[in-house]
Amino acid sequence: METIGNHGLHCPEFDDYAAVALYMQNLGTLIDEQLQEQLEALQGFMDRPTIIVTNSVAAVIADSNTYTQLWDTVVFNNSTFMSLEIGASGSIPGTPSNLIRIGSAAGAAVTVPYLRGSYSIGACTSMTATGAVTAQSYRNLTVTSDDQSLAIDTFSCSASDTTYDSNTGGNESQNVKFSCELERTSGVIVEGFVTHGNTASTVSIAAGALFWVTYNGPIDIIEVA
């Protein structure tokens, strides 16, 4: 058999004609495998792992209370390594958190490693005072990415948006978006915290707030010595 090109394909030579059927089976199988690899690579490129979560009901919180359990419903998730966890152990000790977990939990067996590379993370919330408005009181949304597998437990990345209520009808809204790099295999949590300074009354966070994570692509540069 004579080898052709760079994909392992081959063609029969003069002495191989009696094995044409076997040759065609082998050739067809090789073509099938090569094309399937290309198709899966293209589909993987098109389908970037993404998760979007929301809160199905409005949440009412008192002032200066860092609310960590807003998110309760998955809107979309095409990944195998990201999930919404309710009441998990988050970055604030002793406070349960509804968070997005990337990879397996820190310290546990790595059964769902994440894809190394760049991620974009974002969220949006809308808050309205349930009663009186404390003039120019703050409304804050903070989103953090925390690699709990690191020896020093610090936030890998975070973004925060603070707006101030000027008592113009409510729906004080915050929007954050940032990128970060995840360079290990597991143990990352992404949290969205909400807090406010409206001492005159509680504040309602409207249902339908959105919180999301998407994989942008790899960042590794492979050097061949």
């Binding site: 059927a21 089976q25 073509i31 099938d32 198709l39 707006t163």
Partner: protein, 183 residues
Amino acid sequence: MPGMTPNFNIRYPCAGETIDPQVFEDFAEDVEAALVSVDAAADAALLRPRGALRTVPTGISTTVAVTTAMAYNVTDFADGVTVIAGGFTIITPGVYMVDCEFSPITVVTTVTSFTGDITQNATVVYRRKLGWAGVVDSAGPINISGLVSCAAADTIQANWRWTGTGGPMFVYSRISISKICDV
């Protein structure tokens, strides 16, 4: 009976079968069909639906306390999405990244708050609202962005609203959209 490969059903003769020109024709046609399906995936990867629109440079006139839809008259680019007066209509279902910039251009009498929205089928999905404490005669720029899970025929548009006195306020805006993944 011919055998077939597991993924693309490429036919090949089995031992003992007669090998004639039809066998080679079937094989070639099946390989061709497999290549066509991979070509389609490659085209989709190269031409991810995306678009970017902007208003005229002089901006859109907005009245106090009125939610005003942005009108995008200039198309920077649009592939795989339909451009409509206020934004985009989705053709291919998917999760899309939407970004919108609002830049107020003119001053008014007073401004107490200003809000930028991204809407999906006229329902707000992303919003940012800012307010001023003192007597201010202009609004500031707002950028908002986020992922939206879209079905075919969904519309993605943007609104601006401000409170205060005087006006109208002219607002320049740019909106962009890019497909992230299938749904």
